[in-house]
Symmetry: C2
Subunit: 221 residues, 2 copies
DNA sequence: AAACATTTGTCCGTATGTATA
DNA sequence: ATATACATACGGACAAATGTT
């Protein structure tokens, strides 16, 4: 019996890619905390690679806004201000709203069905209080729409902003609520009706509401 | 008489930065043409540095969408589709419109005066058919608004998208018209009235109009 | 099919500049 | 202020992978 070889054309996994993913993950989940100073030699040892792929990864993370580099001086994880979320969500809301509009004429039956089942999974996660799971499914939901919109510029910007949202979630600056479930359903309904303007408006509100909810949460404390 | 030393705290200029700026400029102005294969050793020789800063620059340019890297295979300048502009302008319009909204409560007399003089310079450039100059002043105009909006996420995304706009201009995919002058004036007036919704709408139209104009231009040929 | 040439990815040493005593 | 220690930026060599003859 022949060894079953991988028939999927698997993209070569470089050390840089591995390092980048790991470092980004660590910054997002808080393993590397805001403001922490990053020593490339140390990181290289931990990840079992040399300093080069580490340096390259850090530079990419800088463009994404996860680290801050002071040439010749130091490299550190970017801080999280109390209201980073106030800066982060408006542009994300605007781009997601635009995506919904652009997606309208490209929607198929299959896509709408996928949105429906995804929102059902989202509902279950929220109701059973699996908030991290809910966050990821919520991302999936919005990702479907962005993918259908089929705009490479939007795609890469949203991807980066979403990563920041995940980070804020881990730092307890994001809360997910039941209201999203119903809003998602409204969006699906409006998409069926091909009502781009309204779906865009609801999409925006869906994201901006999270700002208020965070501020309410703070005030309760 | 003592040698007049530079009192401005000039940020250290790294080889990577220099290389990055030069390469980006070359891609924007067409010196490096769409689809061209990039050999880092060759570029290193031309710029008089080693491969390291070149490679790092290319990776940053990849994130910005100016080059495409195929790990282990090749690196090349991204292509320009006939309708790249159709993908590029909608997200830029959305972010600029958002910027205008966010800027409203932060506007000062000085800022508005600056917008007015900038638009006057823009008008002169357009009327004397100095189109490249007009493009740069137009950028200044919008940059003022983005700066006042004071949102780091928007700032970096707009900066990158603007660079792509410049590139399309060099490849004759962008045209500037007199209509922008009057639209800018309208925006200034609405900002004085603190009318965020309307200024946002006009800002969007101002950018999206360029898509139609490009398509009209094509049809005339 | 195999050896070659080319190009890319990685490693590590060194020099330059920065912070601290 | 000077010297010391240290982190970073860059260079050049080696290794691995690609595609070419």
């Amino acid at each position: 019996m022949p060894v079953p070889t991988d028939h999927i054309k698997t993209k070569r996994k470089t050390a840089k890619e591995t390092a980048f993913n790991q470092l980004q993950q660590w910054i997002i989940d808080g393993t590397l905390y805001p403001g922490e100073k990053l020593n490339d030699l140390e990181l290289a040892k931990v990840l079992g690679v040399s300093r080069t792929p580490i340096r390259e990864s850090l530079q990419l993370l800088e463009v994404q806004g996860f680290v801050e580099m002071f040439p010749g001086k130091a490299t550190q994880v970017t801080g999280i201000e109390r209201d980073s979320i106030t800066d982060l969500l408006p542009p994300l809301a605007a781009l997601q709203a635009l995506s919904a509009e652009l997606a309208i004429p490209r929607l198929t039956e299959e896509t709408i069905a996928l949105l429906e089942t995804t929102n059902e999974r989202f509902a279950i996660a929220v109701q059973t209080r699996n908030y991290f799971s809910a966050l990821k499914i919520d991302e999936e939901f919005h990702q479907i729409i962005v993918d259908v919109a089929n705009n490479p510029y939007i795609l890469s910007m949203v991807e980066s902003l979403q990563a920041h949202v995940r980070r804020l979630f881990f730092h307890n600056s994001i809360v997910l609520t039941k209201e999203s479930i119903e809003e998602h359903n409204k969006m699906i309904q409006l998409m069926k009706e091909r009502n781009g303007l309204k779906v865009s408006a609801i999409m925006r509100d869906n994201w901006l509401r999270a700002i208020d909810e965070f501020h309410n949460l703070k005030d309760e404390k």
